[in-house]
Structures are given as C-alpha cells and as structure tokens.
Symmetry: C2
Subunit: 116 residues, 2 copies
C-alpha cells in the first residue's frame, strides 16, 4: 500500500465543503459576520439544522466567532480556504502546463505557415 491519507482529523475541509448548504453558509459569512439566526433565515431548514452545520464548520476551524450579548457572530476564517487552493495547486500545474504546450504548438504552426 502506497497511497493513504496521512492525517486523521475527524473532519477535514473537504468534508466541510461537500454539503451545498455549508458551501452557501461559507459564502455568506465570507464578507460579513452573521448570527445563527440570521443565517437560518436564508435557508429552508430549521435553525437547529443550521446550527449543526455551524458546529461542523467550527470543528474544521473554518470560523471566527465573536459573542455580543447573547448573540454570536460567525465569520469565515478565509485563510483556511487556502488549504483547498493548495490541494488544487498540483492539478493547476498540470492544466497550465498543458495549456502552455498547446499554446506553443499553435505558435509553431503559425510560424510554419508564415514561412511558406
């Protein structure tokens, strides 16, 4: 056995973003801090269901929180999203490399055409 996931965190960011509701939450709190109630207003599910999603996002260390009285404002720790970006990097290298090769080919074909 060669390839095996190395770390064993209970949840990782890839699980966090697997659910469409959680992705929507992340977008909402990317630019502004929101309370669970404010978030729940945006969805068709119960406040408690949203609360569970928040808990999961929190376990993944995706959230900053600030308590104001009895309200809790949640906001995205944007830096955590870079983990996904870093994982994507290995694929980005490949597609950019292939694009460059295609570009080189087209340039070469063009110059050959010019010479004729």
């Amino acid at each position: 056995m060669i390839a095996q996931p190395l770390t064993f965190m209970k949840r990782d960011i890839f699980q966090a973003i697997a659910d469409p509701t959680r992705r929507a939450i992340l977008v909402l709190i990317a630019t502004q801090a929101l309370t669970p109630n404010a978030l729940a207003d945006q969805f068709d599910i119960t406040r408690q269901a949203v609360s569970k999603h928040i808990k999961i996002l929190n376990e993944c260390e995706l959230l900053k929180q600030e308590k104001v009285g009895r309200e809790i404002y949640y906001e995205l720790k944007i830096d955590k999203m870079k983990e996904v970006d870093q994982w994507l990097e290995q694929f980005r290298k490949i597609w950019e490399n292939r694009f460059d090769q295609l570009d080189n080919l087209l340039t070469k074909l063009q110059s050959e055409k010019d010479e004729s």
Copy 2:
C-alpha cells in the same frame, strides 16, 4: 439521454473530492492512465470498493476511459477540476484583497517612518 441536466446531477465534484480515497485516486490518475486493478493495489480496500469510487468519479464526469482488451484505463479529466478552482475564486479575491490592503498599510507605515 444525450446531455444530463446540469442542475440535477446526482453528485457534484465537491462530493467527489470529499472522500480521502477518491482524492488519492484523482492524484494518481492525474498524470497517467491506470486500470482499476492497478489503482486497487495502492489501497487497503478491496478492488470492488475502488471500483465503486471509480463509478462515483465517473458519474461526476471526472474520468476519461480507454478500453484495451479487457483492461480499462482511467485518467483524470483535468479540466473538470477547474470547477473547484472557479468556486474558490470568490474566496481568493477576498484573501488577495486583504493581503493587498495589509501590504499597502505596511508600505505606508514604512514611508512615514522614512519621513521622520
């Protein structure tokens, strides 16, 4: 069926990459085409379990396949990974913007220091 309705795909790429085994598979077939058996050798699970993961990745339209005799070579459709990149873009904008603002602040502080 010719084209699947985009809005009602059973699975999306975020679900595909949620599982650590599937992420490892994607990495393995990003640069080379591999058969299910060759893939299964890399993991501690059964060939059939790997086969199920392949099926899921296929449903997400992440795979190219080429049949050679009785063997089937699977390779990653790298362009499909751009969907994740595109979703990340909205967050990238934010963190790059914040970095620029921090950079501007530091530059300003430095120039104020130079003036004194």
